[in-house]
Symmetry: C2
Subunit: 212 residues, 2 copies
């Protein structure tokens, strides 16, 4: 029975490392997304965890390290989800749609750490940007790998990589847009990308007269 003692000497409770790390990550994620990376101070995070600053450095090495750690878990989870969902599709079309839907769903629901990086104002550190780039590359690879099996040596097949880049960039941007438009579901968002990928503008082009 060592409940909190009176003022003079706080009976500092010791917490195992794994537990503390979880606490720290939780608080850090909160503070970073509240204030933005730059405006957040390690002192504040430490204080809110109820621990002193050197502990943060002991466990995460640096402010950047803490940021990265906040995202790593979200990042690997995102890749896992999109990959497994995409692979359930039998045709390339299904695969792409599945992957896109999973992506939008993830961002909408579990993606606080993710949006922390992606959202305006949040980024700062070179390593954080590298994190984002790494994740984009993962998804580009996923798309290339998924579609290349099917792609003939046609116009798209020869340019699969840059095309995948466009899809990844467009999807990411649309995800940001979706934040301001919560009425748009993950499926609808995925459909929008599919619409484009499948030739949405061709219809528009064809419909317009050739006037100049």
């Amino acid at each position: 029975m060592t409940t909190s003692r009176s003022a003079p000497t706080a009976p500092r409770r010791r917490v195992p490392r794994a537990e503390r790390e979880r606490q720290m990550l939780e608080v850090a994620e909160e503070v970073f997304s509240e204030r933005g990376y730059l405006a957040s101070s390690m002192d504040e995070i430490a204080e809110r965890v109820g621990v002193s600053k050197p502990m943060l450095y002991e466990y995460f090495g640096s402010k950047e390290g803490l940021l990265i750690a906040c995202t790593q878990q979200a990042r690997s989870e995102l890749l896992r989800v999109t990959t497994t969902t995409a692979l359930k599709g039998g045709t390339p079309e299904e695969m792409l749609r599945n992957g896109l839907t999973a992506y939008f769903e993830f961002i909408q629901t579990h993606g606080r750490a993710w949006l922390l990086l992606r959202t305006e104002g949040a980024f700062a550190s070179p390593s954080a940007a590298a994190e984002m780039e790494a994740s984009r590359a993962e998804h580009t690879n996923l798309i290339v790998a998924s579609l290349s099996r099917f792609a003939p040596s046609e116009s798209v097949g020869a340019n699969l990589e840059p095309v995948a880049e466009v899809i990844v960039g467009g999807t990411e941007r649309l995800a940001v847009w979706c934040q301001q438009h919560p009425e748009v579901s993950a499926e609808q968002a995925a459909d929008l990308v599919m619409l484009l990928a499948r030739g949405g503008l061709a219809e528009l082009f064809a419909a317009s007269p050739n006037r100049g």
Copy 2:
């Protein structure tokens, strides 16, 4: 060993404000893109300009202000170029292609300040991110405005805004990719986006058998 006054006072040249500002912007752009925003110090920039730090603050207010100033000119120039080029097209297809080509050309040639913001590791400040968002919004608007005149109330027409977001995001991402692939010309890059927009993947989808 007394004060540094011993040296004959250098005949400190005075430089008019406009000129100094240009110098400062030039140096700042250089330093920022060399070191990245965070790793750049105002002291170093001031020293390289050959002026003392308070002058930077006098003219640009803050570190962020200096960064923003570096990009503002590139940003307005980019919008001008894409807009005027796009408007030369008679059909929506031409307009889009023209605009895209102008974008890629600009990024490749004049866009140092631009890439400074966009490239990995460069960003940091909230205002810088806001800058990027503003520029993206400008281009989204441009696309929406250009195409809405032609768009019927079809699937695309009803979703022109999010579709434009996807195009903007995909284009931006492809521009980054093009940096690593200088052999790809602006026209080719624009063609890639057009290919997608006009239904590049439809062909791939159609070509593949109905099983994986």
